[in-house]
């Protein structure tokens, strides 16, 4: 056996630890299924009253919901704990990470994994599987490629948003919950057809927190639907690019945050 990867060893250990408390793990998964279902309740209640919302019918809207929830839950599962940085700051445990010969972000990202989020992933997948055949999406390779791109890109977008949220918490500390507006707020905004948003809101959730790239724009592209002005069809393929941009900003913010913490610059 060669040198073991430090990150993989820790991650594997976290996974084992979660399975060792089977009953509480199961109840956490069930609770997360309930979270997913309750999020869907809005779509359900709204479409019990209307046939379309923002130009999408119930199955098309369900597809937006499913993609947004799937990608957010996957990102939350992997790195959602990054936005709990203040706990480390208050307990002083961040120093322990800094005293090890590995990257701080890498260590923090792999310090936890929330497999209970699989409950929410499951709900999103179920909605996706039920809704997809009921839309006009052609059953071809392009559809598959677009869905994979959107899933990978969307997960990356939210993962980068979590890193950014963690970075901001170096400064926020006591007001750390403010980042919920970009993490959970981003996920919330991504779940609905952005065509119902007034322009400033849609602009903010496209170019500041790229929530519309995650689900709404890919679904428009998938179904060949016209979007609001200024959203050409190829934008639906662009969530990986959006993720790169957020990741770049998040990376810079993280470095600045660490420098702020260690007092290297202000």
């Amino acid at each position: 056996m060669g040198e073991p990867s430090p990150y993989r060893a820790v991650l594997a250990s976290r996974v084992r630890a979660q399975f060792s408390y089977r009953v509480s793990f199961a109840s956490d998964v069930v609770a997360n299924v309930a979270v997913g279902v309750s999020e869907f309740a809005v779509v359900y209640v709204v479409f019990s009253r209307v046939d379309t919302l923002g130009g999408l019918d119930v199955w098309q809207a369900a597809l937006v919901f499913a993609l947004a929830n799937l990608t957010f839950a996957l990102a939350d599962l992997a790195v959602g704990h990054l936005d709990r940085l203040p706990r480390h700051l208050r307990a002083g445990t961040l120093d322990a990470f800094l005293l090890r010969p590995a990257s701080l972000l890498g260590q923090l990202a792999t310090s936890e994994v929330s497999l209970k989020r699989l409950g929410r992933v499951g709900v999103a997948l179920a909605v996706l599987v039920v809704a997809l055949p009921r839309t006009d999406a052609p059953a071809d390779l392009r559809t598959a490629a677009l869905l994979v791109t959107a899933t990978v890109g969307g997960t990356a977008v939210f993962a980068a948003v979590f890193v950014l949220a963690g970075a901001l918490q170096f400064w926020l500390v006591e007001g750390a919950e403010a980042v919920n507006s970009i993490t959970y707020g981003g996920s919330n905004a991504a779940s609905y057809p952005a065509s119902v948003f007034p322009d400033p809101l849609r602009w903010a959730f496209t170019y500041v927190v790229p929530a519309t790239f995650v689900a709404y724009l890919p679904v428009l592209t998938l179904l060949g639907l016209p979007g609001p002005a200024g959203s050409p069809s190829w934008l639906g393929w662009c969530s990986p690019a959006a993720a790169l941009v957020v990741a770049g900003v998040a990376g810079l913010a993280w470095r600045a945050g660490v420098r702020y913490y260690t007092g290297a610059g202000s």
């Binding site: 309750s38 309740a41 209640v45 709204v46 009253r49 006591e174 007001g175 065509s195």
Partner: protein
């Protein structure tokens, strides 16, 4: 001898007034969610041709902002402060105090709610007023009733959250239950969508629970959706639910503390 509960209420207010940055952060998040909710609800009204169950575009937007404003005072989401004290056994200290645990916690929670009303409520309302506008009635008596309805809503919410926490006397881990409670409350209080928009089966289910009395009721009174005799009927329903949850809370607390005494934590 003076009753200690007003002092406990003030202490609850003070306790929460120290979390200033957290309060600002919460207000920001409430506002962002409010903007998305207003857009979705207004979009729904537009898709329905201008009205859903008596909600026009202005009413739908107002509903979105007011529910976000009252989310923190009503505390729709469950906490686990008391459950932790039960788990660690610290609750024995609380039970040994010469005050009634339930009444003391209630007073503390009302103090918390009183503190959060303005800092957590005004930002979403201000943004709402500036963006979509707010459709609020002009009569003063409605607002007075709304204060009563809000106090009742907070109290019912307290009663239910207290019950969730008391389950820690029997459950080793209350996390699953608090998450489930929060999930159910998010939908059935009307936080996500007005209760009046629910399809019949869900409306029946909601009406059989205290949840609509926590948030939808004070919002209805505040926005003038219900007024006069109908408003009093809403308040009467709230009072009935409050009595029921507090009574149940007393029974559960008595059983739980007996269990604590018998089994020694």
């Amino acid at each position: 001898m003076p009753t200690p509960y007003p002092a406990l209420l003030v202490a609850g207010f003070r306790r929460f007034s120290t979390y200033r940055a957290a309060t600002a952060a919460g207000a920001l998040t409430n506002t962002v969610f409010g903007a998305v909710k207003a857009a979705v609800l207004v979009g729904t009204v537009a898709a329905a041709g201008g009205s859903v169950s008596g909600y026009g575009a202005a009413q739908a937007a107002t509903f979105a902002w007011v529910t976000q404003a009252l989310l923190a005072p009503v505390a729709v989401f469950a906490d686990d402060e008391l459950a932790q004290r039960v788990r660690t056994g610290d609750v024995a200290v609380d039970l040994a105090r010469p005050v009634d645990l339930q009444l003391a916690a209630w007073a503390d929670d009302l103090g918390r709610a009183a503190y959060t009303v303005l800092p957590r409520g005004l930002p979403p309302l201000a943004v709402g007023a500036l963006t979509t506008g707010l459709a609020l009635p002009g009569r003063v008596d409605g607002y007075l009733l709304a204060v009563v309805a809000l106090a009742l809503g907070v109290s019912i919410s307290f009663g239910c959250r207290h019950l969730v926490n008391l389950s820690a006397f029997w459950l080793t881990d209350v996390r699953g239950l608090t998450t489930l409670y929060t999930v159910v409350a998010t939908v059935l209080t009307g936080l996500s969508v007005p209760v009046g928009w629910f399809p019949p089966w869900l409306a029946v289910l909601a009406a059989a629970t205290p949840f609509p009395s926590m948030l939808q009721a004070p919002v209805d009174v505040l926005t003038g959706r219900v007024a006069g005799a109908e408003a009093l009927r809403v308040l009467a329903t709230q009072v009935a639910w409050l009595g029921a949850v507090l009574l149940l809370g007393r029974v559960v607390l008595a059983r739980g503390s007996r269990r604590l005494v018998v089994q020694g934590g």
